[in-house]
């Protein structure tokens, strides 16, 4: 014993001293979750609450499950059905097995001193002192404690189980991610402890119920699948598991993009964070509060729901165990076994203690540590002994200590109460009351049918779906009823009485006609089946011939005697029985034997219910089966179908020397009456591995039970029909757990298929289907491709699923069926969905515009028309005369070239920036936004300009070796979405390939004309007697607005002359000369690059009222304003009154000024200036002496208008006023006077006059 202790200490040192890291929720978080589980359980089971005094035992147990090396068994990957396994850290038991594996938990390897201090008070610890060295905290052990009345220990052990289920809610634990020290989820949840509770958790649990499942394994499966399928761990993002997948991406308020998962229960949530514009190593991340808080809110809620369900299950099973004599038997070891174990332990410890490697590690430290552990007090209570990065330390967390202290104090408050309970335990103690309440609960729930329990759903695999937890019954406090008998469903014997002699059926081979030598008298017809046939016979060997007939209820329905493959028949032989009656039957005492035609001896195969075969299941359900496995039958060989009765006897093969011998397998009832059988010879099967199966007889005629209508219609073909049996190449034994036959197929209704363009997923939905037993959990749904019949998807216990697709522009057709667990399927529901291309249309044609060539003209809906998750950069590749391949990724530094680029179309387009027009691109890079991005950098120089009107037109080159495109030519497309930047290069991933073929056409499709400019404004330029036209830019519905040309027209009539349209190119203005007194019609129209012409925008125009149509002297070449009185000669076409004379002086080469000047009108004398007719008033105005950059005008008024005659010449002469003595009327600077009418260097453009 000392050596054993020594060995334990050795190991304890080993465990305590080797490095450890975090592998789970912090133990404080476990304590908190367990506390919440107790609260939630008590809230839902008011009449059966857990007494407060037991709460801390459960909490402490849940904390201490993390002791030593135990956490390595806290992993369970439900996808691969394994525990933690890793080439570096070893392979460990999955948690759901660990919870039941007493052998492993009892192993001496785990019997090392605890390193996690207890939160229990001394008084409380005393009540479980007997298990201070115990390491077996399995489910069974907890039940055993409970049954034995050791409640504190029971709850302590139950706390260990709750720890395991809590860990099943941690994605790292269900995704095989050991994450030494850096699990974002566990680091984030570390804050939640008893003294820092999640205030939102009670609210999330409102309206929810404990999850109710039939057994402990189902709890592990359910919660592990939920956390595995819907949440990531750090190192398993898009790695190792298909799920989860973000349903869509969304940019949150922080400007960062998150992958969002649809959640109909708690609301959509971010499941992962995407990279930004720049990504150094393309890591998608989890470690954001935005994500972690959403993980925790769901997983903690589920953890509590499942945990409370487990507590309920515990009470239920404990009460059943109390009344189960077998339960106690299982816990009693034989004396010899105990001796053997003791001897083994001695030798084992000696063996281990002798291991020098381990012994060498012994030091005083182990005793120090033991001491520390033993002496732990409230201040020493640490939560991280296994989490500490420091060797051998029991880390103290002050915050936690406070919480635990609080708990401890509370416990101390309850110590007295507990003691009182114990003192009064002989009477009606609180525990007795609890027992009574639980007894009541069990008795009330005993009649709940198993299917009601089985209806609890495990989240389905694809879309996040909450288990539809059925509300637990709220049980009121009840009077303690008498203890009920064990809840065991005893079969009711059918009202069938067996009287010997019986008439029974057996089969013989017609070829060898060996039946006559068998143990019965052949009295009826033989068949003509080539292998075996049915003969009605009466027994002579076992019973005398009589008149009573056996009610034909039990059949030998399938038999396999000669298997194939490695190992021969071992593990594969069976005899299947079928009950055609409507009552279940207990076949205890029945037997199965066989006879040889060459022998008179009887050979026993199985006697049902023999005392040494306690595991026999002998009740054959109504319309159900019972399976007798022979020759070490192994369920592995038949999809897990276990034998109800398992024996080592074997059915003989009839080969070699035995050829021709008939073997008759025969069933006898419990009084020895023959019931039925089957004879076979070497010719009964055509090849090894085939079974013989009785046909179905659903409606009077025997039909094949192997497929079609008879496949699930039972096996009751009998009587005088020939060929009652058939060979079956894929044997399919059924057992007592198989569903009855015949039965109804699952009722599949409400099936639909839609396509979600935002997520690019096919969305299948249907109503929950029930099998013939009313069970939904086991119903499997199968979706097959309608054209190929290949399986597209399968799922169980779901009401829908979605699947991403990467082919568009095609129809998807499927048929959906619901199958019960034994394979009976509903009629197919045909489903179909059209998945459009990202292009609303694409035209591939010869360009009729100037320059010719061929173009691809692609139309789309809202931009970006390629759905994506990361950025708006998109990529389109076109392929000529071939289907677009589906290359998963294209990378910028490879010029976005797919693996096979031989059929890539060569395209031309104008780039957003950089080097302008490209002529030989093999891709189209669509920019962010529907026009070129203003972000610059990165991909922008490659981006395509010219996206407008929901389409783009790009020239496409004729491939080398091809003269031109013809009608058979076509293009296809592949679409890509920006995914990340790796090493400075953009990386695109496939969005979809378009399966449509867009064929070439010789002419463009009809196109629409542009819209006319919205308006045209007319401004009269009286100086030049011209109208200035201006209009806004026109638009075109289907071609680039920037390519629109404009034309104007004017006419003095009411109609435009067709030939009068003049182009302004892309200018938005024009000038039209107008002659007084005509009115004009002015028009502007737009012309697109395909020659389509808009309607004109037109206006009528007339000269202004009071317009004085004097000519404008635009040409100042004639001398004006000189010192010798010379002026400008003008011609008056139409006589009119002149009220004003305007003088415009053009910009000159130098500064000038005008001072005290007026204008005189002179008559014309054959081209020379004649007499002064009138003068204007003096303009005492002074332009400053400065450089005049532009023309400037002055007006000179007559006191009263002067009439000027038609068709006459006059002279206009600037003259100096009285204050000016100088003969220069306009003064220039630097001696450059205006006396000659102009300044040097600007001759002819210096001054002009106009009349008004």
């Amino acid at each position: 014993m000392e050596r054993l202790i020594l060995f334990s200490l050795v190991l304890s040192f080993l465990f305590i001293s080797f490095p450890r890291e975090s592998f789970a929720y912090n133990i404080g978080t476990h304590a908190y979750l367990t506390d919440e589980i107790v609260n939630f359980y008590n809230k839902n089971f008011l009449g059966n609450q857990i007494p407060e005094g037991f709460r801390n035992y459960m909490i402490d147990g849940s904390r201490k499950e993390d002791d030593n090396i135990r956490p390595m068994n806290h992993f369970y990957d439900p996808v691969n059905n394994v525990g933690f396994h890793d080439s570096l850290l070893g392979s460990w038991e999955k948690s759901k097995d660990w919870a039941n594996n007493q052998t492993n938990q009892n192993s001496v390897k785990y019997k090392v001193p605890a390193t996690i201090a207890s939160i229990l008070s001394a008084a409380q610890t005393g009540k479980i002192s007997g298990i201070s060295s115990e390491t077996n905290f399995t489910w069974h052990k907890a039940l055993e404690y409970y049954v034995n009345g050791e409640k504190e220990k029971a709850f302590f052990a139950l706390g260990h189980i709750l720890h395991l289920i809590e860990d099943a809610s941690v994605p790292d634990h269900t995704r095989n991610d050991p994450h030494p020290g850096d699990s974002p989820y566990e680091n984030w949840t570390d804050k939640f402890k008893l003294n820092n509770k999640d205030s939102g958790l009670p609210g999330r649990l409102n309206g929810k119920s404990p999850i109710q499942l039939s057994d402990l394994n189902s709890y592990f499966d359910g919660l592990a699948k939920y956390s595995n399928n819907n949440f990531y761990s750090k190192n398993t993002i898009n790695s190792g598991y298909f799920l989860p997948q973000a349903d869509y991406f969304r940019i949150e308020s922080d400007g960062k993009s998150y992958g969002i998962k649809i959640d109909n229960e708690f609301g959509d949530y971010p499941v992962v964070r995407a990279n930004g514009v720049f990504s150094f190593n393309n890591d998608e991340l989890l470690n954001r509060p935005t994500i972690m808080s959403q993980y925790w809110s769901r997983l903690s809620t589920k953890s509590v729901q499942y945990g409370a369900g487990i507590v309920y299950l515990f009470f239920k099973e404990a009460e059943m165990a109390k009344n189960d004599p077998n339960f106690k038997k299982q816990n009693q070891k034989s004396f010899l076994a105990s001796i053997g174990e003791a001897i083994r332990g001695i030798f084992q410890s000696a063996d281990n203690a002798g291991n020098s490697d381990i012994t060498d590690t012994i030091s005083g430290a182990i005793f120090d540590n033991s001491t520390q552990s033993d002496e732990v007090n409230s201040e020493d209570i640490g939560e991280k002994s296994i989490l500490s990065p420091e060797k051998g330390d029991i880390e103290t967390d002050e915050g936690t200590v406070e919480a635990d202290e609080g708990t401890v104090e509370a416990d101390e408050g309850t110590v007295e109460a507990d003691e009182e309970i114990i003192e009064t335990s002989e009477g009606n103690s609180e525990m007795d009351a609890l027992n009574e309440r639980i007894d009541s609960l069990i008795s009330k729930t005993a009649n709940l049918k198993s299917k009601a329990l089985a209806r609890k759903t495990i989240p389905e695999v694809v879309s996040l779906k909450t288990p539809p937890a059925t509300s637990m019954p709220k049980l009121p406090p009840v009077q303690a009823p008498p203890v009920q008998a064990p809840v065991v469903q005893q079969p009711t014997l059918p009202p069938i009485v067996y009287y010997p002699p019986v008439t029974y059926y057996y089969y013989y081979n017609q070829t060898t006609n060996t039946t006559s030598t068998a143990t019965s008298t052949n009295s009826s017809n033989g068949g003509n089946n080539s292998t075996s046939t049915n003969t009605n016979a009466t027994s002579s060997a076992l019973n005398s011939v009589g008149t009573s007939t056996f009610s034909n209820t039990i059949f030998v329905s399938e038999l396999l005697f000669h298997a194939t493959g490695d190992g021969g028949d071992v593990g594969k032989e069976f005899v299947e029985l079928y009950n055609d009656g409507n009552q279940s039957l207990n076949l205890s005492g029945w037997s199965l034997k066989y006879f040889r035609s060459d022998s008179t001896s009887t050979n026993s195969l199985a006697l049902f219910g023999e005392s040494e075969h306690t595991a026999d299941r002998m009740v054959i359900p109504a319309k159900g089966y019972l399976l007798v496995g022979l020759n070490d039958y192994n369920a592995v060989n038949y999809s897990g179908t276990a034998a109800d009765i398992l024996r080592t006897a074997s059915l003989p093969n009839v080969s070699g020397a035995s050829e021709g011998v008939a073997i008759t397998a025969y069933l006898f009832d419990n009084i020895g009456a023959g019931v039925g059988g089957l004879a076979y010879t070497n010719t009964s099967i055509s090849q090894a591995g085939q079974s013989l199966e009785r046909k179905a007889k659903p409606t009077g005629n025997c039909i094949s039970a192997g497929s079609g209508e008879g496949e699930f219609a039972g096996n009751s073909c009998s009587g005088s029909q020939s060929g009652d049996f058939e060979t079956r190449s894929n044997p399919k034994p059924q057992n007592s757990g198989s569903l009855p036959e015949p039965r109804m197929a699952p009722n599949l209704t409400g099936a639909s298929l839609t396509y979600s363009s935002s997520t690019m997923k096919l969305v299948f939905k249907w109503n929950e289907a029930l099998d013939s037993m009313g069970d939904a959990l086991s119903v499997r749904y199968e979706i097959r491709n309608a054209s190929t019949s290949e399986i597209f998807a399968t799922t169980s216990a779901a009401i829908g699923l979605s699947r991403s697709i990467d082919e568009i522009g095609r129809n998807y057709a499927f048929f959906l069926r619901a199958f019960d667990r034994d394979g009976l399927g509903s009629p197919p529901a045909n489903l179909s969905a059209d998945v459009p291309s990202f292009f609303s249309n694409l035209y591939f044609y010869r360009d009729s515009r100037s320059g010719g060539g061929n173009v691809v003209d692609a139309y789309y809906g809202n931009y970006p028309f390629i759905p994506g998750s990361y950025g708006n950069w998109k990529l389109v590749l076109l392929y000529v005369n071939s289907a677009a391949p589906k290359d998963a990724n294209l990378i910028e530094n490879n010029k976005f070239s797919p693996a096979d680029n031989s059929n890539l179309a060569i395209l031309s387009y104008l780039r957003c920036s950089g080097d302008g027009y490209v002529t030989s691109n093999k891709f189209i890079l669509l920019p962010e936004g529907d026009h070129c991005s203003s972000l610059g950098g990165g991909l922008n120089p490659q981006g395509m300009s010219g996206l407008e009107d929901f389409h783009f037109i790009v020239p496409i080159a004729v491939p080398s070796g091809v003269t031109d495109f013809g009608p058979s030519a076509y293009v296809t497309a592949a679409f890509y979405d920006y995914s990340s930047t790796i090493g400075g290069y953009a990386n695109f991933r496939l969005a979809a390939a378009d399966k449509r073929q867009y064929h070439f056409q010789s002419a463009p499709p009809p196109s629409l004309p542009p819209l006319a400019p919205a308006d045209v404004t007319l401004q009269f330029d009286s100086l030049h007697s011209a109208l200035n036209l201006a209009w806004p830019k026109a638009t075109d519905p289907d071609s680039l607005d920037n390519n629109i040309f404009y034309e104007f027209n004017y006419s003095s009539s009411t109609e435009f002359s067709p030939a009068g349209w003049q182009s302004t190119g892309r200018n938005l203005s024009a000038s039209v000369p107008v002659n007084f007194p005509h009115g004009y019609k002015i028009g502007v129209r737009a012309v697109d690059d395909f020659g389509n012409i808009s309607q004109p925008v037109a206006k009528n125009w007339n000269f202004p009222t009071n317009y004085n149509p004097f000519p404008h002297q635009n040409d100042a070449s004639q001398i004006v304003g000189t010192s010798n009185g010379a002026g400008q000669r003008i011609f008056i076409q139409i006589g009119s009154n002149a009220g004003k004379i305007g003088m415009t002086v053009g910009k000159g080469a130098g500064p000038y000024s005008v001072t005290d000047t007026f204008i005189g009108i002179y008559s014309d004398n054959n081209g020379s200036m004649g007499n002064l007719i009138a003068t204007t008033t003096d303009v005492n105005y002074q332009w400053p002496m400065e450089d005049h950059p532009s023309a400037r005008s002055l007006e000179f008024s007559f006191i009263s208008p002067i009439y000027l005659n038609s068709n006459s010449y006059y002279w206009l002469v600037p003259m100096n006023g009285p204050g000016i003595s100088n003969t220069n009327y306009i003064f220039g600077s630097a001696g450059d006077s205006y006396s000659d009418g102009y300044w040097s260097g600007d001759m002819g453009k210096d001054a002009s006059f106009f009349l008004q």
């Binding site: 080993l14 080797f18 490095p19 450890r20 890291e21 090396i69 390595m72 890793d86 080439s87 570096l88 850290l89 070893g90 392979s91 460990w92 052998t103 492993n104 192993s107 390897k109 095989n176 050991p178 994450h179 030494p180 020290g181 850096d182 974002p184 680091n187 984030w188 570390d190 804050k191 750090k234 190192n235 940019i251 922080d254 400007g255 960062k256 993009s257 990279n275 930004g276 514009v277 720049f278 990504s279 150094f280 190593n281 890591d283 991340l285 470690n287 954001r288 509060p289 972690m292 053997g340 001897i343 083994r344 030798f347 084992q348 063996d351 990065p389 203003s934 972000l935 090493g983 400075g984």
Partner: protein, 174 residues
């Protein structure tokens, strides 16, 4: 009398042999024995694996005592073109199932690639312009710098985490 001794002796021998047989079976060939063996193998793996982990983490002393300090050291190394040094400011890969476990190969390769393509400047600019984003850290062991461009478009986050074994801050992702 002689026969009696002989019978007793034979019985004793049989008893010893039986005990020996049982011992041999249960310690070397029984399922429990095999499970114990597997346990020991796993324990050995676990122990050596975690020791290697801790040793590597303790030896990883490149970095500052604050996140800002580590980022500045990283930028300085990049400015000097010292890729080897710059890569050392990244956290060791802790994915036990990765071929790069307890190395910084991924970061080093990426830095070399950026350097070959003349894009180190981009990393420097981002690192210099990134601002602390306390709302993005999940605990005090983490620190996040966020980088946005002039138009407010999110560029990238730089995540740092403290190496509790060596007490320095390490760049975890960028």
């Amino acid at each position: 009398m002689k026969n009696k001794f002989f019978i007793i002796g034979a019985g004793f021998v049989v008893l010893i042999l039986s005990i020996g047989a049982r011992f041999t079976w249960e310690n070397y060939f029984s399922p429990q024995a095999k499970q114990n063996k597997l346990f020991e193998q796993n324990l050995q793996k676990y122990t050596s694996g975690m020791e290697a982990f801790e040793a590597a983490m303790r030896a990883d002393t490149y970095g500052g005592k604050t996140p800002e300090e580590t980022l500045a050291m990283f930028v300085d190394a990049l400015k000097k073109g010292d890729i080897e040094l710059a890569s050392k400011y990244f956290m060791l890969d802790t994915n036990t199932q990765s071929p790069d476990y307890l190395t910084r190969r991924i970061w080093e390769k990426s830095l070399i690639k950026f350097d070959n393509e003349g894009d180190l400047r981009e990393i420097i600019n981002i690192s210099v312009s990134a601002k602390p984003d306390p709302n993005s850290a999940i605990s005090s062991d983490y620190f996040v710098f966020s980088s946005y461009d002039k138009k407010g478009i999110f560029v990238t986050d730089i995540d740092l985490r403290i190496n509790k074994y060596s007490g320095v801050w390490k760049i975890e992702s960028m």
